[in-house]
Amino acid sequence: MTVQMTDPNVPVLSLRDVVKTYGEGDSAVHALAGVSLDVNAGEMVAVMGTSGSGKSTLLTIAGGLLAATSGTVSVGGVELGRLRVKGLARIRRERIGFVFQDFNLLPSLTVLENVALPLDLAGQSAAGSRSDARRALAVVGLRGRGASYPDDLSGGQRQRVAIARAIVGRRRLVLADEPTGALDSVTGDTVLQVLRERADEGAAVVLVTHDARHAAWADRIVYIADGRIIDEASSARPEQLLSGGAR
């Protein structure tokens, strides 16, 4: 499975001076305080930080689920701030795949239907979407489980279904929020391997994690604290970053 490329010089994801503030006045909380980040095609970036540092906020803003207070967010060159609700939905449908810590699969749909959902929402033919979904399931090692319901699967299997749903079709950006948080280490590695392969195939992958070992799968690691990116590093030295040596 390959990802459709547009202009290779344009970052798949670009954040410029993104600020996100919750509340007003004295009670205002600055979740992001001027974050700038580019993620290119074929690149896997891990975002690390302590709890409350702004990692998840960064991801939801990058995915167009949350509007930034200021700054610009572009996906494939399209500035999300200029889009209305329907336009944002279309961007998410066509260009972004989400992987959540809690899987967020629809329990009333089968595994195959869950994976095919983004394609169904995009109006792809049923036969085509089922075919693509089966391929995505095969990629994550769940061939033959399409007729099962999410409740029938283990946590690891559910997360792999969520990844299959994130990578199905031709979407260029995969945003994964603690995808291994609910998994054991072996299963977690399997999931990360799938994401790594996805990046190697040309997608841009952003992985939010607080586990340095998981971050090591990324090409680049971004450390975030108090809503700011405080450092970037290659994955060769994640332990050093975590120990605070980079500061």
């Binding site: 949350l66 959540f100 983004p118 929402l121």
Partner: protein, 940 residues
């Protein structure tokens, strides 16, 4: 604390936990409280209105006797012992024989009633009759009370509203209604009696149980003797009033005295007896208010079905609440709470919510009842006249309503609590609780019940068919049994359908999945959450089944009673007989014709006389009562329905339906009265067109025009004349005094069923017959038909003459369509409300899924589409179940006897089956909000 108190401690702990859980889930709490509050409000309203329609003891006593001690009336003039309610004096029948040990004379007349009372008893007698009273141009026949109704001893029963009380002859009072009707004011001069003489209106007297037409109060010098005033006097005893009441201002009547007076045919209301024996509240004790209210099958049915539907909906709400609280229940289980405690927590939650619903419902019900009573009092008066005695709040009823609400809450939460208590504690705490697998047994039970229901329907249908094969006088019980079995089959079918509904929902999910994401998600959700969906489906199905029955029943009735214009369209009819009591007074036709043409100059007002019929003996006519010659049109023996001959319902339904002589709307019996007398003008007025040549010839040649073909045989009709003075009444055992056989032409008019004319003969023929002729009707015709304004103008003019009413033939009301639309409306309102609850609950549970869908790029409108599909699925499935079961009941009890087929508005029902779900789905789409805040729900 001792071990004995352990259950109490556990119950208190359970209630505390339940209460705390509720505080954390306020949206669902509000929904369920509203669901329980609704039937509680209805119950409280109905109960309070009912209680307010019944007097308290003090109100009853004041209304009956004012400040006096008792009243006495003659109930049985022949002295037969009467059985009465000792506290309300309501007649309950007679007792035979009269006790021998009575020291009083038998057969009291009005004159000797005072002699039955202890010596020295002071009495105040009021005589009731009627009188013709005029004020300016307005004339009305009013009720009259002769005697001093304004006496201080009767204060409470009567009260002076304005003016003063009469001090002597020449002065009268009017009731407020009468003053309003005559547009009379205190100080005006009124005319009373016939011949009329003037009196002065000195005041307005309210209270009492006034005649609907209004009442005039005065002395005998002005309002009596009754005969001279044209008032009704039917006691047969000269000088005695229509009715007399003796009030005893100072003399109490004991229960023993009451019994003695009853033994002489007298009704007695006694202050002492009532105050000693009757509780002070309305009707009786508080609980009897409840039992009496529920004695009304209509109220019971409505409240019962409504409460059951609310129970189902509240159950669905609880199911959602319990599911969201499953983690809390798992925590309780993990800390050692047994399953029984978990169930108790669930039921206690329901009881709490029920209590809240009851607490909300009681004031709402009291307020609604107050509003209703206020409206009633404004339009209908108060006290014994208006049906409303006061605003009676019954404490027992408040308690009963709250208890009802608590029970509803507890019952509704029972099944959800039992389901929730089966929680897998470990899985639930891990958040990996799997939904219950669909089990086979509910489907098996559902199928078995559906089969049982079908068998019961077949049995009932066979039984009903059998009832057509036995004589009609014996078929009623069997028909009733068949109906009962059909109703049981309906209930069994509904329960069965509820059990089998999950299977139907799964099949629907499979069928609808290819139709798109929204249909797939909605159908799967409905199928997976059967505990939430099925109660709502059942609640709507009940409504649909009843609505179907109502619509089919109305359609069935309209087919039985063929709707025809009762007379030519737009023509009016004024009957000249003004009946009051048992006597008939004929109003002068010329006076009525003048009144009509003065109101509508274009109107043709034709007076039609009739030969004296058996019910039309006139006191003012030429023939005195009991001495009239009465004419009838006879039905030839061959045309008589066999049942009329035997005077019993001996035919079977099948025979009766197949016999053209039976069940006809254009026959009124073997001997028909209403024989019109007149010429072509009268005939034209009756049939509403120019008479045909044959009709005109028949009249002019001494024949008759007959308005029912069964009364004619071989071109002739037979008329009999009976001498009532000799006691010769129309009967097969009697021979008429005279018989006339006339050539007859059958008219296609509906005059017999509509206006009561059986035939018309010329005045010459009528004279030969020798029967009394009375002007009986004035028929009104305006080209193009009378407008409503013209009808109102004529009506107003007629009231100046007497209590006469004009009826105008309009297009027949489409009763069946009206009921069908009403049923449809009920389904839309109740089904829509139920669906709103179902969709609301589903949307609450789907909040996280909506957020997920949004993250995947679903259009914001997807949630709206899902809601629309959910509504369509719920209402559609309920509609199919309801229509099927309703039609099944109808097919048992409403099939056409002759054809054995069920005629129903099938097209309307089919359209409704498609239109209602579509409409409800559309409304759901419209009112479902697209999810907005999505990122929070995606976090762990």
């Amino acid at each position: 604390m001792s071990r004995a108190l352990f259950p109490l401690r556990r119950a208190a702990s359970t209630l505390r936990i339940a209460g705390k859980q509720l505080r954390r889930d306020r949206r669902k709490v509000r929904l369920i409280v509203a669901l329980v509050a609704l039937p509680s409000t209805v119950l409280m309203t109905v109960g309070t209105v009912y209680a307010s329609q019944n007097p308290t003891r003090a109100e009853l006593v004041a209304n009956e006797v004012g400040q006096s001690q008792a009243w006495i009336k003659v109930s049985e003039p022949d002295g037969t012992a009467v059985n009465q309610d000792p506290y309300t004096a309501q007649w309950q029948g007679t007792l035979e024989p009269v006790p021998d040990d009575s020291s009083y004379d038998d057969n009291p007349s009005y004159a000797d009633v005072p002699s039955l009372l202890p010596v020295g008893t002071l009495t105040l007698a009021l005589d009731e009759s009627t009188a013709i009273v005029g004020a300016g141009d307005l004339v009305a026949r009013l009720g009259s009370i002769v005697g001093e109704a304004w006496d201080p001893a009767l204060a409470g029963r009567f009260h002076v509203e304005s003016g003063i009380v009469p001090t002597g002859p020449g002065q009268v009072m009017l009731s407020p209604d009468a003053a309003n009707r005559l547009n009379a004011h205190v100080g005006d001069t009124l005319s009373v009696g016939r011949p009329a003489h003037d009196v002065k209106l000195v005041g307005v007297l309210g209270g009492g149980n006034a005649y609907w037409s209004g009442t005039v109060y005065g002395f005998a010098d002005d309002l009596g003797p009754v005969d001279d005033l044209g008032a009704v006097d039917d006691t047969g005893a000269v000088g005695e009033p229509f009715s007399r009441t003796w009030y005893l201002p100072n003399t109490p009547v004991t229960r023993a005295q009451q019994d003695d007076l009853n033994a002489h045919g007298l009704l007695v209301f006694s202050r002492e007896v009532t105050e000693e024996g009757r509780p002070s509240g309305p009707v009786g004790s508080g609980m009897s208010v409840i039992t009496n209210a529920f004695g009304n099958s209509g109220i019971t049915g409505t409240v019962g079905i409504g409460a059951f539907e609310m129970l189902l909906l509240a159950g669905a709400g609880f199911m959602v609440t319990m599911r969201s609280n499953q983690r809390n229940l798992a925590l309780l289980g993990a800390t050692g709470a047994p399953r029984g405690t978990l169930v108790s927590v669930g039921v206690a939650t329901g009881a709490w919510l029920g209590l809240l619903g009851g607490v909300v419902g009681v004031p709402l019900g009291l307020a609604a009842a107050w509003g209703w009573i206020w409206l009633q009092t404004r339009s209908g008066g108060s006290g014994g006249d208006g049906g409303i005695w006061g605003y009676h709040v019954v404490p027992e009823y408040i308690v009963g309503t709250v208890v009802f609400a608590v029970v509803v809450g507890a019952l509704a939460s029972l099944i959800p609590a039992l389901v929730a208590a089966r929680v897998d504690i470990v899985a639930s705490l891990r958040g990996s609780q799997r939904p219950a697998r669909p089990r086979a047994w509910p489907t098996i039970v559902g199928a078995a019940l559906a089969a049982a229901s079908a068998a019961l329907f077949v049995w009932a249908a066979r039984m009903y068919e059998h009832s057509w094969e036995i004589s009609r006088e014996n078929s009623y019980d069997e028909g009733q049994r068949a109906t009962l079995i059909a109703v049981i089959a309906l209930i069994v079918g509904l329960v069965g359908a509820s059990f089998a509904a999950p299977l139907a929902l799964r099949a629907l999910a499979r069928a609808l999945s290819p139709l798109g994401v929204a249909a797939r998600i909605a159908a799967r959700d409905a199928s997976r959450h059967a505990f939430r969906t099925v109660p709502v489906v059942a609640a709507i199905a009940i409504t649909v089944a009843l609505a179907t029955l109502g619509a089919v029943s109305a359609d069935h009735e309209s087919r039985l009673n063929t709707e025809e214009l009762s007379a030519p369209y737009g023509d009016g009819q004024v009957r000249l007989d003004s009946s009051d009591g048992e006597k008939t007074v004929y109003i002068d036709a010329a006076q009525v014709q003048d009144a009509i043409t003065s109101a509508v100059p274009d109107a043709q007002a034709v007076a039609v006389s009739t030969l004296q019929g058996e019910n039309g003996v006139s006191p003012d006519g030429d023939g005195a009562a009991g001495a009239a010659m009465v004419a009838t049109l006879d039905m030839p023996k061959a045309n008589i329905c066999p049942e009329w001959l035997s005077n019993r319902s001996v035919m079977t339904e099948k025979e009766y339906a197949a016999d053209d002589r039976c069940g006809r709307s254009d026959t009124v019996g073997v001997y028909a009265s209403g024989i019109a007398v007149g010429g072509v003008e009268q005939l034209a007025a009756i049939v509403g067109r120019e008479p045909t040549a044959a009709e005109a010839t028949a009249l002019s040649d001494g024949g008759a025009v007959v308005f029912g073909d069964l009364y004619v045989e071989d071109g002739t009709a037979t008329f009999d004349v009976w001498d009532y003075g000799k006691g010769n009444f129309p009967d097969a055992a009697n021979a008429p005094d005279k018989t006339f056989t006339l050539d007859a032409v059958v008219s296609d008019s509906t005059a017999l069923s509509g206006r009561g004319f059986s035939a018309i003969v010329s005045p010459e023929v009528a004279a030969q017959m020798g029967a009394t002729v009375e002007p009986s009707q004035v028929l009104v015709h305006v080209d193009g038909g009378l407008s409503q304004e013209q009808q109102d103008a004529i009506q107003g003019s007629l009231f100046r003459v007497a209590d006469l009413w004009i009826s105008v033939s309009r297009a027949p009301d489409n009763y069946a369509l009206y009921i069908a639309l009403l049923s449809l409306g009920a389904v839309l309102i109740i089904g829509g409300a139920c669906t709103a609850i179902a969709v609301g609950l589903a949307r609450q549970e789907a909040a996280r899924d909506d957020a997920t869908l949004a993250s995947l790029g679903a259009s914001p409108a997807l949630a709206k589409s899902v809601a629309a599909w959910q509504a369509g699925i719920v209402v559609g499935l309920a509609g199919v179940i309801g229509v099927a079961l309703g039609s099944a009941v109808a097919s048992v009890t409403m099939r056409d006897v002759a054809t054995g087929r069920l005629e129903a508005p099938w097209l309307l029902m089919a359209l409704a089956l498609v239109a209602v779900p579509t409409l409800v789905a559309g409304v759901s789409w419209l009112f479902t909000r697209a999810p907005k805040v999505i990122h929070y729900r995606l976090a762990a």
